[in-house]
């Protein structure tokens, strides 16, 4: 079998050195009645050639985003990944290494994470970034756990209905057994009215969570929302989009205390939902530093005075604090954090700005073009958006989307899946990769399918 190296002679010599006569003797501690007395019921082994054709034949049953023109978003986007990202992340020295417990043996990864943390601070305008979390949804939940620790309050967690529905579901699961309550602030017009925050927040409010651009693609009045949170001493948690940060004000600029994001757009392939990258940054205050979850890399010097990097502030973490830890998280998403660092360094400030600008122009062109079709209207009016928008159609949405798939388009997401009152709505995302021809093609196909 592949991957195992001991020959029968090796095995004999090793058993003799151990002082036992058979492999069976090594398992003597497992009581016989607990042994599995048959083979596992899984398919037989496959050499690499057979495995490859088997996997390829299964993947051929998919219609991937690359097999059709992709206008799907909802927190995962078809952004371009420059080849340098794969070249770096494909180094075995990076991807077959583990958590840098021995700093001397992992300076490469430690420095790369330190750079990632620095880049996330630059991207969000906040002073502290951790070494990453699992993905966007659990990052919101971890930010709320932080807020509970910082405020020591046990009142309400206020979350806008326009925050990604799966992030909100994750949050609800995470706090189900803790001493606080999640209250969803309705967003019937596709955005959170800052006045609703003002009315709902009081001196027991733990935190206020808003996302901008939100799930419908709209920009929220983040400054005003943040002010209402601050007035009552609640933590303001902002969920942002890292690509849109190329043109938008940053969470730190509009007063966020904690910024979180799904970092998939920064160089990670779609791969059916994960592994992705959970970004979390926050203000540099003692209480925040004490409560921040996950790994942190810090700069120091070695015994010869040389600059170097180590895992630091570990007294917050589960392997030291056990049940009193700030979070149970153990791993980070190291490889995806590395991808994000290479991605942002490859784009630079100008490249990120131009990427975001292309998204804005193409999304607005698409919106205009699609709304020229009879029976297609914008669902929300006069709300600024960046790369995603919501359409209302005079047609059965699942059937329409199925027709468009046959025509070669993943045309958008059926919003009724998350918002029953929006059963006639489609969310369309347009990245920098979409061309005018593809957008015009979608418009023709949509027209023909209605």
């Amino acid at each position: 079998m592949p991957y195992v190296l001991n020959t029968p002679d090796d095995q004999k010599a090793m058993l003799a050195a151990i002082g036992v006569s058979s492999l069976e003797d090594l398992f003597a501690r497992i009581p016989p009645e607990l042994r599995l007395k048959r083979s596992l019921a899984i398919p037989p082994a496959m050499p690499e050639m057979e495995l490859q054709s088997h996997i390829c034949s299964l993947l051929a049953k998919n219609q991937a985003a690359s097999d059709a023109v992709c206008f799907l978003g909802g927190g995962a986007y078809d952004h371009f990944v420059p080849s340098v990202v794969d070249a770096v992340a494909g180094r075995g020295e990076f991807y077959t290494e583990y958590t840098p417990y021995q700093a001397e043996a992992s300076q490469g990864t430690l420095q790369a994470i330190f750079e990632y943390q620095s880049l996330m601070c630059a991207l969000t305008g906040l002073e502290v970034a951790n070494a990453s979390l699992y993905e966007g949804g659990s990052s919101v939940a971890e930010a709320v756990l932080m807020a509970l620790g910082i405020t020591q309050r046990s009142g309400e967690v206020l979350v806008a209905e326009s925050v990604h529905p799966e992030y909100r579901q994750t949050l609800t699961t995470y706090v189900a057994n803790l001493n606080c309550r999640v209250r969803t602030l309705p967003t019937p017009d596709g955005f959170l009215n800052p006045d609703d925050v003002k009315k709902s927040a009081n001196d027991s409010t733990v935190c206020v969570i808003a996302q901008s651009p939100n799930f419908f693609g709209h920009l929220e009045e983040m400054q005003a929302i943040g002010e209402s949170a601050r007035k009552v001493g609640a933590v303001f948690i902002a969920s942002f989009d890292p690509i849109c940060a190329g043109v938008l004000k940053r969470p730190g600029d509009y007063g966020a205390d904690i910024a979180v994001a799904e970092g998939q757009g920064l160089g990670t392939p779609l791969q059916y939902g994960g592994p992705y990258l959970g970004i979390l940054t926050c203000r540099n205050e003692t209480e925040y530093l004490r409560k921040i979850p996950g790994r942190l890399v810090g700069q120091t010097t070695d015994r010869n005075g040389k600059r170097c990097w180590v895992l630091t502030l570990q007294t917050r973490e589960q392997h030291i604090r056990r049940e009193k830890a700030t979070s149970n998280i153990c791993t980070n998403q190291g490889l995806l954090a590395l991808r994000a660092a290479v991605f942002l360094s490859a784009l630079g400030p100008q490249g990120l700005k131009e990427t975001a600008e292309l998204c804005v122009h193409k999304a607005h062109y698409a919106m205009e073009k699609l709304c020229e079709i009879p029976g297609v209207k914008p669902q929300f009016h006069n709300r600024p958006f960046v790369k995603e928008f919501t359409l209302r159609v005079n047609s059965n949405v699942p059937e329409l989307l199925a027709k468009l798939r046959v025509a070669g388009y993943h045309a958008g997401l059926p919003l009724g899946r998350w918002y029953p009152n929006l059963a006639n709505c489609i969310s369309v995302a347009v990245t920098e990769q979409r061309t005018k021809t593809e957008i015009d093609g979608l418009a023709s196909a949509l027209k023909a399918s209605l």
Partner: protein, 488 residues
């Protein structure tokens, strides 16, 4: 080779006007300025202050950084409890195929039938290997798997009118994630002592077990690499009090196809797919931590799970008792996909052989290491063992950490050090099945040499790496967590 090139931080390589990625011209009529499309109040005056570097500088920087890592591809990596086995290259090629890499997580099930078939089969494989009946692939890592299972337990007790079961029992040798997960799920943790033999002290367990006990979290084989010989007595005891048994599946590499958690009484377990089924560890992640549970707990699993409806596969969201989600989207599919490829490559006999050879390698290394170091618990061990530098510290003032640092000079990654907490000066070694006798011999030779080396020399080790003995106290006391132009 001079490897001091590119010790700068990427920001220090920045020069205004350089860039490596250019974008195509805008091909749609962009008649409006940005500020006509997005109100000025939302727009930044300038983009974020990212570094500006050319492509060759970017590549040299990161490739030189990579050379400052020890990794499985370059070095023996016997990091106990982390199962650092070889990561097959075929998995990387398959995971890069566009039919997988370009699959959007919110595509309609009609367009993901191949993907869903793989995930459906993966659920079945993991159920079969655990001897349990239902699986959720959603958790992103082992720690999240634990947390998810405890959420499931809490929901189950609430549903059965037993919300008073607030206590989780955890052995003192457990991973730190166990008590941390229990606290997050709203349980109070009570520690159960290990006996001198390194196994659960059953009398202590009995004294702490009550009607308020919800879950006993046990790692088996435990973190000392020992199989709990009385595991069935323990699980029967828990069940007799109406409590659930959770198996921390960190050490599944020792028992594949040999014994199954479901058969020895576990009601729930997580897998570390990145360990047991060899997802590359990525410098700290991604992991993947699916859970398997008994049938009566299946309704509480996170939604969706993959189901087969005739010949069609679909995501089932219709689970009214589900705890909800623990993350967005389906799961860490990239790691599950590699795990699937691994299980298909090895088949039932191959998986069993993995465990047999992992246990053989660990016992051989244990035998060789015990010639120069204490190994406090009697063998045989399973896939790993814990040695101790306790005597070495007393006789020669050499700490476990000194031994670890010196190993780096010999070209070996260090074992896990100072864990588990129940062994003083612990050196926890897990060689895995993918290493040869020659490698194990070379590593044991190095360890035996080191114990006789000059203590002062060892205190300053490593001597051949780019840095040596970073000042960790300083890093924590005056934290510098990001690059700023004036602090360097």
């Amino acid at each position: 080779m001079n490897n001091t090139q590119s010790t700068e931080v990427i920001f220090e390589l920045s020069k205004s006007g350089r860039r490596c990625h250019k974008l195509p011209a805008c091909d749609v009529p962009a008649s409006h300025a940005l500020s006509a499309l997005i109100p000025q109040e939302h727009l930044a005056e300038k983009p974020p202050p990212l570094p500006e570097v050319g492509e060759i500088d970017l590549i040299r920087h990161y490739i030189n950084l990579s050379a400052r890592n020890m990794s499985i591809d370059t070095n023996f990596y016997p990091l106990g409890s982390c199962t650092m086995k070889y990561n097959p290259k075929r998995h990387e090629r398959l995971a890069a195929l566009p039919g997988f890499a370009s699959l959007h997580p919110l595509q309609d099930d009609d367009t993901t039938q191949g993907m869903l078939e793989i995930l459906f089969e993966m659920q079945q494989f993991l159920a079969e290997i655990s001897g349990l009946s239902a699986v959720s692939l959603q958790p992103a890592a082992g720690a999240q798997g634990e947390l998810t299972a405890l959420f499931v337990a809490a929901a189950y007790f609430r549903d059965k009118g037993q919300a008073h079961r607030r206590k989780v029992l955890v052995p003192d040798s457990a991973h730190g994630t166990n008590p941390a997960s229990a606290a997050l799920a709203g349980f109070n943790t009570v520690t159960v002592k290990s006996g001198k033999n390194g196994l659960v002290d059953i009398e202590d367990l009995k004294s702490k077990l009550g009607d308020d006990t919800g879950v006993f979290m046990i790692t088996n084989p435990n973190t000392l690499g020992l199989f709990e010989t009385q595991i069935k007595i323990i699980t029967d005891l828990l069940h007799s009090k109406g409590a659930l048994v959770y198996l921390d599946g960190a050490n599944m590499n020792a028992i594949l196809g040999i014994t199954r958690p479901g058969d020895f009484g576990a009601d729930m377990q997580h897998y570390n797919v990145h360990k047991t089924f060899t997802g590359p560890h990525g410098g700290g992640g991604p992991g993947s931590g699916p859970i398997a549970v008994r049938d009566f707990l299946a309704p509480y699993l996170p939604a969706p799970v993959v189901v087969k409806d005739g010949a069609r596969f679909k995501l089932n969201f219709d689970m009214p008792k589900s705890i909800g989600r623990v993350r967005s989207f389906f799961g860490n599919v990239g790691i599950l996909f590699r795990g699937y490829a691994y299980i298909r490559t090895l088949g039932p006999d191959g998986l069993r052989k993995v465990s047999e050879q992992a246990v053989l390698n660990a016992n051989y290394l244990r035998t060789r290491v015990s010639k120069g170091y204490e190994v406090p618990h009697t063998g045989p061990c399973m896939h790993e063992f814990v040695a101790s530098a306790h005597t070495l510290l007393h006789k020669r003032q050499i700490k476990a950490m000194d031994v670890c640092k010196r190993l780096l000079d010999y070209g070996f990654h260090a074992p896990t050090v100072y864990f588990p907490l129940v062994v003083k000066e612990a050196l926890m070694m897990e060689p895995t099945e993918t290493e040869s006798k020659e490698t194990l011999d070379a590593f044991a030779d190095a360890l035996l040499k080191i114990k006789d080396e000059d203590p002062e020399f060892l205190r300053n080790a490593p001597h051949t790496h780019i840095v040596s003995r970073p000042n960790e106290a300083k890093a924590a006391k005056e934290p510098i967590l990001r690059w700023t132009p004036n602090k360097q």
